[in-house]
C-alpha cells in the first residue's frame, strides 16, 4: 500500500518536472514579449510587473514585421493550395488504386521527403531571377511546395485509406460516378483529417527559414526577417518576434492534438 502511494507521488513529481521543462521557455518568452523594457533591463526584477503591447505595435508598423507576416501568410496559403491541388489526387491514387509502379512511386515520394531542401535554394534563386519571380511570394511558395508536397501525399493517402472504400462503392451502386462519389462521400468524411494536414503544411511553411531567407530580399517572410534583423535589435523585440512566430504553432498543437500522434507518426516515419 505504501509502495503504491510512493509510486504515485514519484509519477506525479516526474510529470510536474516534465511539464515545467516544456512549459517554462514558452511562458517566459510570453512574459518578455509583453514586458515594458524598463522591467526587462531592471536587474532586481525577475518577473516583470508592467506590461505593454507597444513592442508588437512597433515591430508590426515600423520595423517591417507586419509586411513580413503578410508575406509569410501569403506564402503559406499559396503553398497549401499548390500542395493540395497536386498532392490530394496523388494521395488518393496511392490509397485507392492498385497499379504498376506504385511501389516505386511511393519510394520516390519517401525519398523526396528526406531530400535536403537547402540544396535547391541556390539554383532556384538563379532560375527565379531568369523567370522574373525572384523575391516574390510565388517564388518562395513554389520552393516550399517541394518541401510540403511529399508530406501532403503521404498524409492524405493514409487519411483516404482510413475512409472505408465501401461508402464510396455504395454511392457508386446508387448511380454516382467515381468522381461524384469522391466529392460527395469520401471528401466530406476525410475533411477533418485534410484540414489537420493543411495546418501541418501551414506550419512547415511558416517555420521554414533557410530557403525563404535566400529567396527573398524585400519580401521577406517573418522568420527570414527575424533572421536578418533580430540580432541587431534590442532584446525585447527579439522576444516579441519569437513570440509571434510561436503563436500559430501553439494554436496548432492545441487544435490538432487529436491527430498529432498519428500525423507525425506518418510524416516522420
Amino acid at each position: 500500500m505504501r509502495a503504491k502511494k510512493l509510486r504515485k507521488v514519484i509519477i506525479f513529481v516526474i510529470s510536474v518536472l516534465i511539464g515545467l521543462w516544456f512549459l517554462i521557455p514558452v511562458a517566459l518568452i510570453t512574459l518578455s514579449a509583453f514586458a515594458v523594457s524598463e522591467d526587462y533591463y531592471n536587474p532586481h526584477l525577475i518577473i516583470p510587473r508592467h506590461f505593454t503591447i507597444s513592442h508588437f505595435y512597433k515591430l508590426f508598423f515600423t520595423l517591417g514585421a507586419g509586411h513580413a507576416t503578410m508575406v509569410s501568410l501569403l506564402v503559406a496559403g499559396v503553398t497549401i493550395a499548390l500542395s493540395f491541388i497536386l498532392g490530394v489526387p496523388a494521395g488518393y491514387a496511392l490509397a485507392r488504386y492498385r497499379f504498376k509502379g506504385k511501389d516505386s512511386l511511393k519510394l520516390v515520394i519517401l525519398a523526396t521527403r528526406m531530400f535536403p531542401l537547402m540544396i535547391l535554394a541556390i539554383p532556384l534563386l538563379v532560375i527565379f531571377m531568369k523567370m522574373g519571380i525572384s523575391d516574390t511570394v510565388l517564388g518562395i511558395a513554389l520552393a516550399h511546395t517541394t518541401m510540403v508536397l511529399p508530406f501532403v501525399i503521404l498524409i492524405t493517402s493514409s487519411i483516404f485509406a482510413g475512409v472505408d472504400v465501401e461508402f464510396e462503392e455504395a454511392a457508386m451502386i446508387f448511380g454516382l460516378s467515381r468522381a461524384k462519389a469522391f466529392f460527395k462521400v469520401t471528401l466530406p468524411l476525410a475533411l477533418p483529417g485534410l484540414a489537420a494536414s493543411a495546418i501541418f503544411a501551414f506550419i512547415m511553411s511558416w517555420n521554414e527559414v533557410f530557403v525563404a531567407a535566400i529567396l527573398s530580399l524585400q519580401n521577406r517572410t517573418l522568420p527570414a526577417h527575424i533572421l536578418s534583423t533580430a540580432m541587431d535589435s534590442p532584446d525585447y523585440f527579439k522576444f516579441t518576434a519569437g513570440f509571434i512566430m510561436a503563436v500559430p504553432a501553439l494554436i496548432f498543437i492545441y487544435f490538432a492534438r487529436r491527430y498529432l500522434v498519428s500525423m507525425w507518426g506518418i510524416s516522420l516515419k
Binding site: I11, A90, M114, M118, V126, I153, N207, A249, L268
Partner: protein
C-alpha cells in the same frame, strides 16, 4: 486503368521541374566559374582548401553526434514513462508536445530570453547572490557555452518529434507479448530488452534517420545564437550566398550537405537491419 497515373502526373511534373531540374542546376553551378563560362574545379578546390569548411564540417558532425543520442534517449524515457498509462498521462503528453510545431527561430529566441546577459537565469542567480556579474553565454569568447546552449535548445525543441514517433511505436506493441512474458516470469528489465526494444526497432530507426538528416541541416538555431562563432555547413552556404554572393561556392556547400544526407540514409538503410519496414512505412 490510366486514372492513377493521371492523378500522379501533376506531382511528378512538379517534382521534375522544381526538384530534379534545380538539383541538376546546383551540380552544374558547382562546376561553373564565377564569370559563368566553362568547366572548373576551382569552386570545390576553394571550399576544400578553406579551413572554415573543415571547421564547419567538424561542428556539424559534433552537434549531430551530441544532439541525436540525447534526443533519442530522452524521447525513449519520456515515451516509456507516458506509456505506463498512469492517471492523467494525456496531460503529460500534451505538455511534451508543446514545442512540436515550434520553429527553430522561435526556440532559439526562447533560449536567448533565458540565457542572455539580462535573461532570467542571470537575474535569478544575481538576486540569489550566487553571482555578482552576469554570466555570458553568447559571444566568441564563450564558444563552448554557445555550443551547449545550442545543444540544449535543439534537444528541447526536437525531442518531442522523436517522442511522438516512439510513442506511436510503443502503442503498436501488442499486450499479449507482455502477458506471455509475465507467464514466464520475466523481470521488468528483461521485458524491456527482449520485447520492447526489439519491437521498437523500426520506429527507433526511422526516428534516428530523420533526425540525423535534419540535424545535418541545422541552421536557424546556430545562426541566431552563435552567428559564425560556430561555423556550420548550412550557415557557410548561407553566408557564401547572402554575404559574398558567391553562388558557385554556396552551391558546393549545398551539394556537400546533399551528399552527406545520401550517405547517412544509405548507412542507416544498409547497416541497420529491419530496413524493409522502413521503406514500406
Amino acid at each position: 486503368m490510366l486514372i492513377p497515373y493521371l492523378l500522379f502526373l501533376p506531382t511528378l511534373v512538379y517534382l521534375a521541374v522544381f526538384m530534379a531540374y534545380p538539383l541538376v542546376q546546383a551540380i552544374i553551378l558547382t562546376f561553373t566559374s564565377e564569370s559563368g563560362a566553362g568547366f572548373t574545379l576551382s569552386n570545390w578546390y576553394s571550399v576544400f582548401s578553406d579551413p572554415l569548411f573543415w571547421e564547419a564540417l567538424k561542428n556539424t558532425l559534433l552537434l549531430t553526434g551530441v544532439i541525436i543520442p540525447l534526443q533519442v534517449l530522452l524521447a525513449l524515457l519520456l515515451a516509456l514513462f507516458v506509456n505506463s498509462r498512469f492517471r492523467g498521462y494525456m496531460i503529460v503528453i500534451y505538455f511534451i508536445t508543446i514545442p512540436l510545431a515550434l520553429s527553430d527561430v522561435s526556440a532559439a529566441l526562447m533560449s536567448y530570453n533565458i540565457f542572455s546577459p539580462q535573461g532570467y537565469l542571470n537575474k535569478i542567480l544575481l538576486n540569489l547572490g550566487l553571482i555578482h556579474e552576469p554570466m555570458y553565454f553568447f559571444g566568441f569568447n564563450v564558444k563552448s557555452r554557445e555550443f551547449w546552449i545550442i545543444v540544449l535548445t535543439e534537444v528541447w525543441r526536437a525531442t518531442p518529434l522523436v517522442f511522438v514517433i516512439l510513442l506511436a511505436g510503443l502503442q503498436m506493441i501488442g499486450k499479449e507479448y507482455f502477458e506471455a512474458a509475465d507467464v514466464f516470469g520475466f523481470s521488468r528489465l528483461q521485458k524491456f530488452f527482449y520485447i520492447t526494444l526489439p519491437l521498437l526497432k523500426t520506429s527507433l530507426q526511422s526516428a534516428l534517420l530523420l533526425r540525423t538528416l535534419f540535424a545535418f541541416q541545422i541552421f536557424g538555431v546556430v545562426w541566431l545564437l552563435a552567428g559564425r562563432d560556430i561555423p556550420i555547413l548550412a550557415g557557410e552556404a548561407f553566408y557564401q550566398q547572402t554575404e559574398l554572393q558567391d553562388y558557385n561556392v554556396a552551391a558546393v556547400y549545398g551539394v556537400i550537405i546533399a551528399i552527406i544526407s545520401v550517405i547517412i540514409s544509405w548507412f542507416y538503410l544498409t547497416f541497420l537491419k529491419g530496413t524493409k519496414e522502413l521503406s514500406e512505412s
